[in-house]
Symmetry: none
Subunit: 223 residues, 4 copies
């Protein structure tokens, strides 16, 4: 007779197996790369039987997808509350931008390998997976664009195409993540790099004196 407790423990054991498969898959994927990973690597790493894999996942893409979904979920959760309090002035805006960037960097530091792996491999796995990555990046781009839009409306950012700039900011982040991971910028502390690019985003690299003449709507400046 199957008691309720028995059922529960069965359930729990099953879930534990599933988790160890997921964890094993993550480790193997990171070490070997998605395309070179074979199912038997995963089950060996997880210490379960070959057939067990198929009780939980359809195939390699399925387990990858599951892993990725979890990651994206955690990722977006971190920024879910961000839209709650919008900056009220330029100072706050810059501070919020700096904070958001640092938060992003922190998340990246914690998940360094997984992030890089996902960014690099997702586009080559399947259209579905590529779309998932794309959707995530676009959400971030849209978020940045939304803040920028707000700043423009509030008058503490100049008028610009927020869609383009939003994507550009994501591009900066992605490239710096890659470069940072490869150990370039060795001399600069991460915080310095972040400030550097926030400055870039706010002020560009142009000489301040130049812009007086170059920006059409320049009359506001030389008051």
């Amino acid at each position: 007779m199957v008691t309720k407790t028995r059922k529960t423990s069965d359930q729990e054991r099953k879930e534990r197996t599933r988790q160890s498969l997921l964890a094993a898959a993550a480790r193997v994927f990171l070490g070997t790369g998605y395309h070179k990973t074979v199912i038997s690597d995963i089950v060996a790493e997880a210490g379960v039987g070959q057939g067990t894999f198929y009780r939980f996942f359809r195939d390699k893409e399925d387990v990858f997808s599951t892993l990725v979904d979890g990651f994206i979920e955690r990722m977006l959760a971190q920024f879910a509350d961000m839209s709650a309090n919008l900056p009220k002035n330029a100072e706050e805006y810059r501070a919020a931008s700096l904070a958001a960037t640092k938060k992003l960097a922190a998340i990246f530091e914690e998940n360094r390998e997984l992030v890089l792996f996902f960014l690099r491999e997702a586009p080559t796995i399947s259209p579905a997976m590529a779309a998932k990555l794309d959707a995530m990046l676009n959400r971030f781009a849209a978020l940045a664009g939304f803040y920028l839009q707000h700043a423009i409306l509030m008058g503490f950012a100049r008028h610009c195409n927020t869609e383009v700039v939003g994507q550009a900011l994501i591009g900066i982040a992605l490239r710096l993540v890659e470069t940072w991971a490869k150990g370039r910028f060795a001399t600069s502390a991460l915080d310095r790099v972040i400030e550097e690019i926030v400055d870039l985003a706010f002020f560009g690299f142009g000489d301040p004196r130049m812009r007086l003449t170059m920006v059409p709507s320049g009359e506001g400046e030389n008051r």
Copy 2:
């Protein structure tokens, strides 16, 4: 005895075969993706026998690598002469940046699929291929950094970490390439997008009035 004409025509035939394999490989890679492509796809597309492939290439990676080398070579050739005449003032600098970006965009437009393919797949193919892509991007980043450095010395760019900014600019370019390819920015013309990001690079998105207070050396501006 082998006549000279015989040898020449053999040589030519061989080269034609090689080229048709390369072209076929490019087409198949783009359509199917590197990892899902099998050699028999390529030879079928090229209309040659299976064994013929191995007369020219060691394996799939070899043909990919050959394709990529050709592309990188053409790419760098386009920018080889750029360092010849450095901009002499801010105006020229901005014009040169705009021109370079447009040139890059034009090259991309011509090789749209190959570029995207290389950017996406290279990191997952092999460490060697990843290194090749990385090297190319770093060269561009260094080039941008070098120009920026020159501008700073000339006094028409503000002082900043040229290494970081160089990479950031590459990031912007990569992300916009991706986004553009997916048909976003549908409403904006390519030229507008380019101007937008060159402006971003020069001036940031910060409100010009803001920087008066935020940039320490701001007094130079409102004299």
Copy 3:
């Protein structure tokens, strides 16, 4: 959960599969020759799937090697106890030689094809395999040499280079095995052939009267 019985029966099934592959390999090797045999012949003969072969053996040489190791092991086991009781006089020595030769012949009769196959093919398969055969033959040669040495010391064999003679005896055995297998000596019974060569080994074919003059230490004989 895996029960102990499950594990046991799995183990047994696996071993049975392995054995049927080994047996099939032996049959196919003998019929087709090592070099012309292909893996698919073996699996077809064994009645298992193509992939199954690779669960047990690395390649063709591996299965051959396994087969050979088993054979050598059985072979040497037969002669392991031989050194226990050394002959105490010439009579015993001759009897022991006859017995050993007959035993060898019996083993050969039982494994006729495998022996011939191994003798013929091993040298062409790989240096490792050639060395294995060589080692086995040298062990037999050394064994024969050792007995001869003992006989010389005991005074019932004339002094000679035991190393050379040991190898010569192996040579005789090998050649007769080959010839016998081909059905020559059809008229003579195996036992007669064996006696013939034991006599050859003991007395040579020279006329007894001749040796009186030819052997330097001949004075012992015509007392």
Copy 4:
């Protein structure tokens, strides 16, 4: 117009090509082993085109066979005259045996690698090739048997099965060739080894005193 000289030189060139293919094949076979040798190795070694091979030989076995035929022919030529003068007494018989063995050894020394190669590989190449080797060895065995028969008839060899002993002698030769080639017997000079085995053949290793009692027809000895 094709002159006679033109024809001749064409003929000669063709023959030279054929010879260089044969020589190249021999070198490659010895270095690589028959089974691992591929046609392209041979043509590369010979410095001719791939197709040229097929103008002279049907396939790999054909060229091997040609090589072997030449070798056997030369081999047998060396012993063709031997039957001319048969030994007239035991002394001559022994001397002739020694001489023949030394001649054999000399031939072997000159063609060491080719001989070993042929002995080892022939049985695994095809039944036809195995038969060729077998036939050659049997001819030698028959030759030895014939001499022995003659000696028996003349009364300077004891009565024995000449067929068996003939093969046994070949066996001794083959085994010593193998062993000698591997560098064993390092201490003994070749001539000593040869004398050793001729003695073995004539007298066996048995103690001369023993045979008085053991050979049934022993009374003839101590007359």
